[in-house]
């Protein structure tokens, strides 16, 4: 029997859904009702899966919860799981991202607001600030994007724990090759069209929306930017435009197929000043040649018109399928690489994040 778990974090609670033997996903009752859940992770590295949820109590601040029984019960560290050192004079605002390391069994990375990276060595219970990134000379010049000054993306090399990348809005993509002891901006080739001519390729200051690694080539990354879609073949050393043939190169998520090389997905919105799906239909666009060409996929998706955006972490793909959730509370699923879609849920609060795994 094959079990799949889908975790849906929303602005007002967490929803888990289970599928057995490829059957439909059944949504379980709401958890953390009225609490925002901007980040979730399904950590399947150990025999017993662990769920992680970055939550926001509103008045009572953010925290990280974990569950070792697939969400029946949740625990919390006995001290604040993520806290900035006092010398930083900084207060945690939101946990944007939780990523189990593929190369270090007990390590979990957390990306937070204000823009910083934290590392856990106890499978996500407690975390420590990655000081070198916090001390980076660019950091005082990072400015908040529309969602806040957030480190929202963590890209781990699949086998080399020394190599990883992060994306900050608005700072850009940064990478390390020494396990986080030093970091360099890696945004060469990304255009910032709002800057004057001659200054449109800054070293940093970019509004990167999301970055996804190719499943086969660890050097290949895909990037959805505020202005454009890009690919790098050298882990961010240089970026190349792959979005010019899309109906719009504005959007938030980009995800890579978990096993097929050169296969990625985006969901275009009209523009930054009109954050609605192109043509007012949800159309996931897939490229099978690393961004050379694109095909729109919408069979089974609503006829429209639809008006809700899909946020940067609200699309995901794993062996459990391809999923996206909308700001008006719908979740759609494809189990044939995007060729056809079924509705998993509707009438949820606005979807902030989705993650799925085969258990």
């Amino acid at each position: 029997m094959t079990d799949a778990l889908l975790a849906i974090g929303t602005r007002k609670g967490l929803f888990l859904a289970r599928s057995r033997d490829g059957g439909p996903f059944e949504i379980e009752p709401i958890q953390f009702s009225t609490v925002a859940v901007p980040s979730v992770a399904v950590d399947t590295r150990a025999p017993a899966p662990r769920l992680l949820a970055g939550i926001e109590y509103g008045h009572f601040g953010p925290s990280v919860m974990y569950s070792d029984d697939l969400g029946r019960t949740w625990s919390e560290a006995e001290r604040p799981p993520i806290a900035f050192p006092e010398k930083t004079e900084t207060t945690l605002t939101r946990v944007w991202q939780l990523v189990p390391s593929p190369s270090e069994p007990d390590v979990v990375w957390a990306g937070v607001e204000p823009g910083a990276l934290f590392r856990s060595e106890d499978r996500g219970v407690t975390y420590q600030l990655v000081e070198a990134l916090w001390e980076h000379p660019h950091r005082p010049r990072w400015v908040p994007g529309g969602g806040g000054l957030c480190l929202h993306t963590i890209v781990c090399h699949p086998t080399d724990p020394r190599t990883m990348g992060v994306a900050i809005s608005t700072g850009g993509f940064y990478r390390t090759s020494d396990g986080g002891l030093s970091w360099e901006a890696a945004n060469q080739g990304i255009r910032a069209p709002f800057l004057p001519e001659g200054q449109q390729y800054p070293e940093f200051g970019h509004c990167v929306h999301k970055v996804a690694p190719d499943p086969v080539d660890p050097e290949r990354l895909y990037l959805q930017h505020h202005f454009g879609v890009y690919r790098s073949d050298d882990f961010g050393g240089a970026w190349h435009d792959i979005g010019s043939s899309l109906p719009s190169d504005f959007g938030f998520p980009v995800v890579a197929h978990p096993t097929r090389p050169d296969t990625l997905y985006v969901l275009p919105l009209h523009a930054d000043m009109d954050r609605t799906p192109v043509g007012h239909r949800y159309r996931v666009h897939r490229s099978d040649d690393a961004g050379g060409t694109w095909r729109a996929l919408d069979r089974g998706l609503p006829e429209g018109p639809v008006h809700a955006a899909v946020l940067r972490d609200a699309m995901t793909m794993s062996e459990a399928g391809l999923f996206f959730g909308t700001r008006d509370g719908e979740v759609h699923c494809s189990r044939d690489d995007g060729e056809s879609w079924t509705l998993v849920a509707r009438h949820l609060p606005d979807v902030l994040t989705v993650r799925a795994a085969v258990l």
Partner: protein, 96 residues
């Protein structure tokens, strides 16, 4: 002894109790305990609850108010607010 009286939204962190009692002492023998020292005691006894009331630097969260003898502690010196013997501290989150 200081009593923190809790709203329903905060009771989940103390097994559903409506109030918790902590010992609090002043900076020296002649000084009364303060709200800050009571919260330090609360942090030791109930760290998960205290974390919800103050941020990691000990600042009372923006949408949390604490009333001492019917007055908002913010107007009584904040964390330096002196607590009379047996004081009750009513914790009130802002309404939304």
């Amino acid at each position: 002894m200081v009593v923190f009286v809790l709203p329903s939204t905060l009771r989940r962190w103390v097994s559903g109790r409506t109030e918790v009692k902590v010992f609090a002492v002043g900076a020296d023998r002649d000084s009364p305990p303060t709200l800050g020292s009571a919260l330090e005691s609360l942090r030791r006894a109930h760290p998960l609850l205290e974390e919800r009331l103050r941020d990691e630097y000990g600042r009372i969260r923006r949408h949390i108010s604490m009333f001492v003898c019917g007055e908002n502690a913010r107007g009584l010196g904040g964390l330096d607010c002196a607590l009379p013997p047996g004081a009750e501290v009513y914790v009130l989150p802002a309404l939304t």
